[in-house]
């Protein structure tokens, strides 16, 4: 792998790590549970009831 290809891989890898950290922080502050609470009930907006 030449220098250019290594550089090409570094940026997306760094972004993936940032994304994972954001997810971890989000889960830590309770967002995932909020999503679960919404997702296990029929979403009336999605169905088209309001």
């Amino acid at each position: 792998m030449d220098q250019n290809h290594r550089t090409n891989a570094v940026i997306p890898t760094a972004i993936v790590i940032v994304g994972i950290l954001l997810m971890v922080f989000g889960i830590g502050r309770g967002e995932a549970l909020l999503v679960l609470m919404k997702a296990i009930r029929i979403c009336l907006e999605c169905v088209g009831i309001g």
Binding site: I40, I42, E45
Partner: protein
């Protein structure tokens, strides 16, 4: 596969298991009777609409991670509503349009929908209890109307009794898209989808990318002719509009378009005989 809870379709109910804490990469409504996971755009709106949070680290992180791994690969290969449009476009019809008039401007609609209906509506259009409105799910999303609305309407008497103007409005959008999809390839992905918009931003920097071998490319334009989204792949191999369907790779006579993962190039051999 992410919509495999079959009893839901028979009972007119939805899956209520713990896997719904996780999002699926594609636009897959969590109120689809078969859904085993959550829709990232629906989840984003719900978190923003809540009184607890005004920004979603969880969903933003999810979108950033999926986008940085594969850009719009999800759109081409993992999104159920994308597949639905693919199948509709296979219906034989006298007119098939690849170059849409005003395409450049129509593509801006999806940015407006993302900003207004996915972000601003949940944050600023509030009910008397302070709960925001999920604008995209409520007013636009044809995936929800198709994957949740239709099956629940068919199998759930309570839902049938409650539908009104909004149901008719969303079905108007859905039926319009179904008809247009027969003539134009993936109109929802091209012009309306906020999820594809976000993933598209990552196409130029994602781990999974296309690469043009400049020494072999003759700039003949065969790739653009093969692309159903009319992308000049030889000039913009990582266009935000590209859904990674690989049609250009298979069509290229000189084999100049390569897929790359983590900076390593992989020559693609067409296995079709």
């Amino acid at each position: 596969m992410t919509n495999a809870y079959l009893p839901g379709f028979l009972n007119g109910s939805i899956f209520t298991g713990p896997t719904k804490i996780a999002c699926v990469p594609g636009l897959s409504c969590y109120s689809c009777p078969g859904a085993l996971g959550s829709c990232p755009i629906g989840a984003m709106q719900f978190v923003l609409a809540s009184r607890e949070f005004s920004f979603s680290l969880y969903i933003t992180g999810f979108l950033v991670t999926v986008g940085a791994l594969s850009g719009r690969f999800t759109c081409g290969w993992l999104c159920p509503f994308g597949l639905f449009q693919d199948l509709l476009n296979k219906i034989p019809f006298r007119i098939k349009i690849t170059e849409v008039k005003g395409d450049r401007y129509l593509r801006l609609i999806k940015y407006a929908l993302l900003l207004v209906f996915v972000i601003l509506f949940p944050l600023f259009v509030l009910d008397i209890a302070g709960q925001g409105e999920q604008g995209f799910c409520k007013w636009i999303c044809p995936s929800g109307a198709f994957m949740a609305g239709w099956p629940l309407f068919a199998a759930n008497a309570g839902i049938r009794g409650a539908v009104g103007f909004l149901f008719a409005w969303k079905n108007l959008i859905l039926i319009g898209l179904i008809l247009v999809s027969i003539i134009v390839y993936r109109p929802f992905c091209r012009y309306l989808c906020p999820l594809g918009t976000i993933y598209g931003w990552f196409n130029p920097v994602s781990l999974y990318r296309f690469h043009i071998n400049e020494s072999k490319c003759e700039k003949c334009g065969t790739c653009q002719d093969a692309c159903k989204l009319n992308i000049p792949v030889f000039e913009k191999p990582n266009s935000p509009e590209c859904i990674r369907c690989n049609d250009c790779i298979h069509a290229c006579p000189s084999g100049s378009i390569q897929k790359g993962i983590a900076g390593r190039e992989h020559t693609v051999y067409d296995i079709k005989t």
